[in-house]
């Protein structure tokens, strides 16, 4: 509680839970006991255990600066989308179109960067993402279509539009070296992609835990009707989360395109969407809305990432990786539902 106000809130640190509004509340909840505690801490314990196991595993190259930095770099796009997705879930929605938006913005930006200014290409790409997200938001709020269905349907539309842009071809911009600088430049041994991700994570963390907008997001997801009667413009808040989610998906898509200087309408897609959702949910943000935090998403995404990294480094059968992931996801969601049942 009495953590001194740090200059930058470090959302990754679980110590921050005490400052996040849900933290201390659960402690004073009668009967929450061990389960409540476990739920609060959530994924952080298995994450630390797995991290240590991989680090001390004989002959493992896991605990190595190059490996860890590369891991962070690789997870940049996933984390950017997941950070924004955390807002969508907290406000009581879900966005299944991020994989498609990722591809659409990537092909548009890459196509523009082939000939024009990379800066303009990036800005336009992100704005297209924001626009697509805002459209999702309008459909899911003012037209009252369940966001799960609305964004699922939109994902087909978006993928279709992306294919129209590319005519089904791979878009290549090998000559646009300025565009490559966007993700590949290194500063203090860390890529700009990772720096961008860190920036997004911090901004999302501050918005959620410190701003009026963030409070309204929690309120909208916790009890939309109560929030509306308390004067919160619930529809606009939800719409904003979808717009942010779309913009983040666009930014992530452009970062990945800038890495390889090519883009395709087939990139991203459902695989990316579900990786992102899995990361958020494994972290402990509730799919029912009203609860969650950015550090959870960071840990959740990285947890899934180090499982994959571990399987690769230790040369385990990658077939088991999928099974492991599925079981962990079930445990996370099941644990959430079960602890709700016991404590509420």
């Amino acid at each position: 509680m009495s953590t001194p106000q740090a200059a930058t809130p470090a959302p990754e640190k679980p110590g921050n839970t005490a400052k996040s509004p849900a933290g201390p509340g659960a402690r004073s909840l009668p009967g929450a006991g061990f389960l409540g505690q476990a739920r609060q801490g959530g994924i952080i314990y298995p994450f630390i255990v797995l991290f240590i196991i991989l680090a001390i595993w004989k002959g493992s190259l896991f605990y190595d600066k190059t490996n860890l930095l590369e891991l962070l770099d690789q997870q940049s796009s996933t984390l950017i989308i997941a950070a924004a997705g955390t807002m969508v879930l907290i406000a009581g929605g879900i966005d299944l179109s991020v994989g498609a938006t990722y591809a659409l913005c990537q092909v548009i930006a890459t196509k523009m960067a082939e000939t024009g200014s990379p800066v303009v290409a990036i800005i336009v790409g992100v704005l297209v993402g924001v626009g697509v997200g805002a459209l999702n938001g309008v459909i899911a709020t003012f037209f009252r279509i369940n966001s799960l269905i609305a964004t699922l349907a939109m994902s087909f539309v978006i993928t279709g539009v992306a294919s129209l842009v590319t005519n089904g071809n791979l878009i290549i911009a090998y000559t646009a070296l300025g565009f490559a600088n966007f993700a590949r430049t290194e500063f203090l041994d860390v890529t700009t992609a990772a720096w961008t991700m860190i920036g997004v994570v911090i901004i999302v963390g501050v918005v959620l835990s410190r701003t009026i907008l963030g409070r309204y997001m929690y309120a909208a997801g916790s009890n939309a009707e109560a929030a509306r009667l308390a004067g919160v413009r619930v529809n606009w808040i939800k719409l904003a989360t979808f717009a942010i989610s779309g913009g983040a998906a666009g930014l992530a898509g452009i970062i990945d395109a800038s890495r390889v200087l090519s883009a395709s309408s087939q990139n991203g897609g459902t695989a990316l969407t579900f990786t992102v959702l899995a990361g958020i949910v494994v972290g402990g943000t509730s799919i029912l809305g009203g609860e969650g935090a950015i550090w959870r998403t960071v840990v959740g995404v990285l947890f899934i990432a180090i499982i994959g990294n571990g399987f690769t480094l230790l040369a385990w059968n990658p077939l088991y990786e999928q099974i492991t992931l599925g079981v962990i996801l079930l445990l996370a969601v099941g644990g959430d539902a079960w602890s709700r049942l016991r404590t509420d």
Partner: protein, 514 residues
């Protein structure tokens, strides 16, 4: 005590010393009565007298805490409604459970469909349905889509469903509350038909005329206790109402300081029309508590929600007069709760759990939600300022327990209600609408809420108080509006505001104040 000779032959159900509490609140106590086979037995009483609860206990939807139920002379203890259905006892609740996407006959035989090797036998279904419908004289097409039926016909579907499960006793909770006049007549004919065929009907109803017309016996409840069970034949609406009256005052009310006669009008409502509200006009003065009484479903909550723009409003004006300068602000017809708040009206909604609180969030977040801008700079909430503001207002409403970081769900009902008061007060309202502010809170918290309401009016707030508890209205309100059918049936002031007058107007008795 019921007459013993009466029980021997025709007793279908006998209740002995039934008691039931809901979380510390006594709903029923010491209820003993006998319901004759093939009779229509009515349960009447004010809001909260316990008639619905008693109906549900008879039908197995509630399990009594104490006492015994004898069905055909045999002690029974229903574990579930399903258990009761197995013994021929069926409840038709106020909220009908019709599957809109199925046909009438499918609804009727739901779960007991005639089938062959797991496949539905449609022809057999139709034949059995027609047979059943004819036996009670219903002309209702079995193939029709149940979702598109009128409410009265849906009720018929429920009744047929009960009959095809060999119901011998049907408990109907306010069956005519949602019906238009011709449909009411139709349903009355059905109830008479059922009784003629030997089915026992327990009728829970607000409508005394209906009760007198249909019932053989009437049980009058007051405050969870049985006043008397009498044959309907010798009764009149006046005699039934007289028996419902006269509750003891069990919660003390703070002294009423009458609002100054020349106090300015802070809220003026003119010809308000909205769903459930058919042209309501009234004025509320500064420092006044205006009670809005009436039966459940009379449109009280609808008026509140229409003023607060929580519901869509068709027409009418709502004007708020703010501050010493009497700055008149109209709330736009197309406005939202946010608009109403800005104009100075705040509402504490009827259901604190569904419409009021963010149960999973902290006390602090719940209280500051409507007024975050006051404790923020450039969109950033200032934790220190927020904590101080919330602490001050919590002291003002005397909310206790848990501290600011506790989850709202961990607080008692009374304290949860105080959080909503605290949230409203931070907006510095001119008019406060409190819809059932003491529902489900214990006696101590009730008293605290009464004092709070009185204190607020002393500060010049106008309060619109909605309550189903007539005693509460009488104890607190300076003036009472009684609603019925979405209109203001009566305005009662001072000496005229008596329980008899309120009930008379609420039940639509012709002689007001009788």
């Amino acid at each position: 005590m019921p007459d013993n000779d009466d029980n021997l032959q025709g007793a279908h159900v006998e209740l002995r010393d039934i008691a039931k509490s809901f979380g510390g609140t006594r709903a029923l106590e010491g209820i003993s009565l006998t319901i004759g086979r093939g009779s229509v037995h009515a349960l009447v009483g004010e809001n909260g007298a316990g008639k619905s609860t008693l109906g549900k206990i008879i039908a197995g939807a509630h399990v009594p805490d104490d006492g015994q139920i004898l069905l055909a002379g045999e002690p029974v203890r229903f574990a579930s409604p399903r258990d009761a259905i197995g013994r021929g006892v069926i409840l038709i609740a106020q909220e009908l459970s019709i599957m809109g996407s199925l046909t009438v006959e499918q609804n009727v035989f739901l779960g007991v469909e005639p089938s062959q090797a797991g496949f539905q036998n449609r022809r057999e279904l139709r034949r059995k349905y027609n047979e059943l419908a004819a036996s009670v004289g219903f002309a209702l097409d079995g193939g029709a889509n149940a979702g598109s039926l009128r409410t009265a016909d849906k009720q018929k579907v429920e009744i047929l469903r009960a009959l095809c499960r060999n119901a011998q006793l049907i408990v109907m909770d306010e069956p005519t509350a949602a019906l238009s006049r011709p449909d009411v007549e139709a349903l009355h004919a059905v109830i008479r038909q059922l009784a003629r065929n030997g089915t026992t009907v327990v009728l829970v109803s607000h409508f005394l005329g209906e009760v007198l017309e249909l019932a053989d016996q009437v049980t009058i409840l007051r405050d969870g206790r049985l006043v008397q069970t009498v044959p309907a034949a010798g009764q009149s609406e006046e005699s039934l109402m007289a028996a419902m009256l006269g509750r003891s005052l069990d919660a003390a009310f703070p002294p009423k300081r009458p609002a100054a006669a020349d106090a300015r009008v802070v809220l003026e409502v003119r010809d308000l029309v909205a769903p459930g509200v058919n042209g309501v006009s009234f004025e509320l003065r500064a420092g006044e508590i205006l009670g809005l009484a009436g039966l459940v479903g009379a449109g009280r909550t609808e008026v509140a929600r229409a003023i607060y723009r929580a519901n869509r409003v068709h027409s009418g004006t709502v004007t708020v007069s703010v501050g010493k300068e009497a700055d008149n602000r109209q709330i736009d017809v197309t406005g939202s709760p946010r608009t109403a708040m800005r104009a100075g009206v705040l509402m504490i909604p009827e259901s604190r759990k569904d419409q009021g609180l963010l149960l999973g969030r902290s006390v602090r977040e719940n209280v500051s939600l409507s007024t975050l801008a006051q404790v923020s700079r450039a969109g950033m909430v200032q934790p220190g300022a927020e904590r101080r503001t919330v602490r001050d207002v919590l002291t003002r409403v005397d909310a206790r327990g848990g501290g600011q970081s506790a989850r709202a769900s961990s607080l008692s009902g009374g304290n949860q209600q105080k959080l909503l008061f605290a949230r409203s007060l931070l907006s510095d309202p001119t008019v406060l609408i409190a819809d059932e502010p003491t529902r489900g809170v214990d006696v101590g918290a009730k008293r605290a809420i009464y004092e709070l309401l009185t204190a607020l009016t002393d500060e010049g707030l106008g309060v619109l108080l909605i309550s189903s508890d007539v005693e509460e209205i009488l104890g607190l309100a300076h003036r009472v509006l009684v609603m019925r059918g979405g209109r203001v049936e009566a305005e009662l002031d001072g000496e005229d505001a008596t329980e008899a007058a309120i009930l008379g107007a609420a039940f639509g008795a012709t002689e007001r104040g009788a």
